[in-house]
């Protein structure tokens, strides 16, 4: 018997992806422990978003394996992976237009529901009760993140920062074991970024493991338990924040040729 | 006897193949510069044929054809300027619906102008019964005309795109509109030009095949589907491949009459289209690398 707590929640093994002539991700391996925040950083074009898309099933990998909650998830469809408890946000916000913020978050409840086409069309009392329960749960999540006031506003008419939080709420509403955040601070100002950092830690404290891709070093350094550094698709470091900051290889990659 | 029949079908297939090919090329020219599939493409063929017939009443044949081509080009340009030019990043769905609407309007205009009658131009040389004989196979001279015109159109288009500055600018606009703008190229004019060009060759095709296949106000939508099939078959955006695909489709259709009721002819080509879409949307001749470095 293996003690489950020692097993990492997510384990990525020798994953690789090639686009035409470009090896976007090459033999990357890392693991994420339960209840931690792990960050992936690297210069533009280092393969961070590709890595994210591989983990969340948006891209098929060429090589390697990905294990989540002891289940192999490489080759699975994104919705199947979401159903297993791995939820993600997008670098460029993708809220559902023509739907209210609450409805957006309720889509996050999709994996927890059962009602199909027939039940939906007939609108029987049982179905309605189920729907109401999801509505309440979605509102709870929005309340937690402080956006309950915008529940009935059309999601795409909210401010950029608010939209980011709605997207986060939507991902949280799936009650994931793990959350993938793709540049959650992109386009946010300093204050909004600080708020976002607090939110992410709040989420971690509720027992949800976080994997985050981010450019904003101040955010990453402040909240991460561990950091993976990518450069040209390869992993060049995987360590605690302080060790990563002092890693000469990392410094060189981030600063270009440091001949000064 | 068998061989003779075989060749008769082959020739018929080639004739239809040329018109499909040209409609397919028309699709490609507009698709390449705009990313739009112009559902009204078949209407250009109809307009060309019908206008030429009308002009022929008081003009000699070559002038009637020239006039029809020029008028259709003007209509093509006008359509672009009125309906397409000022739309800011329209969705694909919106463009599909708009071009379908345009095709209906053009067709109905054709109905009002020319009625439901079926018309045709006379044979360019000879007449219905004069035929050239190739080892027992009788070939109408008009078939040679249409093959010849198709060949000339393809060659000229290629020369235009390859060797003229304007052609190069259109290709640049097709490859990357923003980058073309950054070179100072007025991309909007290039798009109008692509409509003019594709209307022109559609009209020419309509004139050339009209003596054989005849023209009527409603032929456009059928041709559009065939042309699209050809464009997909060859790989969307690839004009040379569209020609080959046009002949394949024409010949296939022609031989299908041999074994099946004529009414199913359309079903054959559309089944082919569906099969292509499902199995190999990059086209028979397109490969993945070429799909990436998309060009004419």
């Amino acid at each position: 018997m293996i003690v489950p707590d020692i097993m990492p929640l997510l384990e990525v093994n020798n994953i690789g992806k090639r686009f035409g002539g470009l090896q976007a991700v090459k033999d990357v391996s890392f693991s994420v422990q339960r209840g931690t925040i792990k960050a992936v950083i690297g210069p533009n074009g280092a393969g961070k978003t590709t890595l994210f898309n591989l983990v969340s099933g948006f891209l098929p990998s060429d090589t390697g394996t990905i294990t989540f909650r002891d289940t192999a998830i490489h080759g699975k469809e994104p919705h199947q992976i979401a159903g297993l408890g791995l939820s993600r946000t997008f670098q460029h916000i993708r809220l559902f237009s023509h739907m209210t913020a609450l409805e957006n978050v309720m889509v996050g409840r999709h994996v927890k529901g059962r009602a199909g086409f027939l039940a939906g069309m007939l609108g029987l009392p049982g179905t309605r009760r189920e729907d109401q329960a999801h509505r309440d749960r979605a509102l709870e999540v929005m309340d937690l993140l402080g956006i309950a006031a915008f529940a009935d506003t059309d999601a795409t008419s909210l401010s950029y920062g608010q939209q980011r939080v709605v997207e986060l709420a939507r991902a949280l509403a799936t009650e994931p074991a793990m959350l993938l955040l793709d540049e959650p601070a992109a386009g946010l100002n300093m204050r909004e970024t600080a708020d976002m950092a607090k939110l992410i830690m709040k989420i971690r404290d509720r027992g949800i493991t976080v994997l985050i891709v981010e450019h904003d070093m101040s955010l990453v350094m402040n909240i991460s338990d561990e950091i993976v550094v990518l450069s040209y698709g390869e992993k060049i470091a995987d360590d605690m924040p302080l060790a990563v900051q002092q890693n000469p290889h990392v410094i060189r990659v981030y600063l270009g040729e440091d001949d000064a | 006897m068998f061989l003779e029949l075989f060749f008769q079908y082959l020739v018929a297939g080639l004739t239809y193949g040329t018109i499909y090919a040209i409609v397919g090329i028309g699709f490609n020219i507009i698709y390449n510069t705009t990313g739009i599939i112009n559902f009204a493409q078949g209407e250009f063929v109809m307009l060309g044929g019908m206008t030429a017939v009308s002009l022929y009443a008081f003009l000699p044949l070559p002038l009637a054809i020239l006039g029809a081509v020029i008028i259709t080009m003007a209509v093509g340009g006008l359509i672009e300027m009125v309906f397409i030019r000022w739309l800011v990043k329209p969705s694909v769905l919106r463009m599909i619906i708009i071009t379908i609407g345009i095709s209906i309007l053009v067709r109905e205009a054709g109905l009002v102008l020319w009625g439901e009658g079926v018309r045709s131009l006379p044979y360019f040389t000879g007449n219905e019964i004069s035929a050239l004989s190739f080892g027992g196979v009788r070939v109408s001279p008009q078939v040679l005309w249409s093959l010849g015109v198709c060949a000339i159109v393809v060659v000229l288009l290629n020369l235009f795109f390859k060797f003229t500055m304007l052609g190069r600018e259109m290709r640049a606009c097709a490859a990357n509109r923003d980058a073309a703008t950054l070179c100072g190229i007025p991309t909007r004019n290039m798009i109008t030009l692509s409509f003019v060009l594709s209307a022109g060759i559609g009209a020419l095709a309509g004139c050339v095949v009209s003596p054989i296949t005849q023209t009527q106000y409603a032929i456009g939508s059928g041709l559009a589907i065939k042309g699209f099939t050809v464009a997909i078959l060859g790989g969307l955006g690839n004009s040379m491949a569209a020609v080959a695909a046009g002949f394949i489709l024409g010949i296939l259709e022609s031989f299908s009459i041999w074994v099946m009721p004529t009414a199913y002819k359309d079903a054959i080509s559309i089944s082919l289209l569906l099969a292509m879409l499902f199995l190999r949307p990059s086209g028979l001749f397109g490969n993945r690398e070429a799909f990436k470095l998309k060009d004419f």
């Binding site: 210069p43 410094i251 040729e257 | 490859a175 070179c183 100072g184």
Partner: protein
């Protein structure tokens, strides 16, 4: 030469630039540094007119170029090397460069094109070797050189570069920046938008720091390089800082 005044722009309801002002003087390299999503590319797209500003003005040589279509901006002598290079992949290198000379053709200076071609090949000898190769088959660095070369073919007086270092290996980045400095020395003014703050600041005369659509800091490139805040946020030099 270029003066941006109170410029606001964005996509739909999303405001990317907020009342942003800056200027570029003839003969300088001015760099704009900032994180992803700060609005750097949006700024350049708005200056060239690919994107329409919601308010504010862009004066190029005293003329408000917000009022004219983007292709005309190129005729005025302001060229952009777009982010991600955007070369015409299915065309040979030579044709790419000749398309860049479109403006010169229209200006009626056809005879100068051959000379310009030589000049670009002089700056980027590797392009001469690849003259008849399809641009899409070039390496990332070569494509970047081609994109810069294409812009130079228009004989711009101001060349704007959007993240020329993106996705390139450090050695090639060094080459590219070297050439950018050379372009300035030949008399062309440069507006350089970069994430690679250190390399950019090293060759620049002045710099602006862009954050969430606003300029939060501006000054001499040397001063910015030495600025602790900048070092922390953009140069990753938190190494001996307060964290310990």
């Amino acid at each position: 030469m270029l003066r941006v005044h109170n410029l606001s722009a964005g996509y739909g309801s999303l405001h990317v630039l907020r009342r942003l002002s800056l200027h570029v003087k003839p003969g300088e390299i001015v760099t704009i540094i900032g994180a992803n999503g700060a609005g750097k590319s949006t700024l350049l797209r708005t200056i060239t007119g690919l994107l329409r500003a919601s308010s504010g003005e862009v004066l190029f040589k005293g003329e408000d170029i917000q009022r004219i279509p983007p292709e005309q901006v190129v005729f005025r002598g302001c060229s952009l090397v777009p982010e991600g290079r955007q070369v015409f992949a299915a065309m040979p290198v030579r044709e790419n460069l000749l398309l860049g000379a479109y403006v010169q053709h229209k200006r009626g200076k056809r005879d100068e094109v051959a000379h310009d071609l030589d000049r670009v090949f002089g700056l980027f000898p590797v392009l001469r070797q690849r003259e008849h190769q399809l641009a899409g088959t070039l390496s990332g660095g070569e494509q970047q050189m081609l994109a810069i070369g294409r812009a130079l073919m228009a004989r711009p007086t101001l060349i704007m570069l959007d993240e020329p270092s993106m996705g390139l290996a450090p050695l090639i980045v060094k080459d590219i920046f070297h050439i950018i400095a050379k372009i300035r020395d030949e008399g062309c003014t440069v507006l350089l938008v970069e994430q690679n703050a250190r390399s950019a600041l090293k060759i620049a005369n002045r710099g602006y720091v862009l954050e969430t659509g606003r300029i939060i800091l501006e000054g001499d490139a040397g001063d910015l390089l030495a600025n602790r805040e900048i070092q922390r946020a953009y140069l990753g030099k938190d190494l001996d800082g307060e964290n310990k």
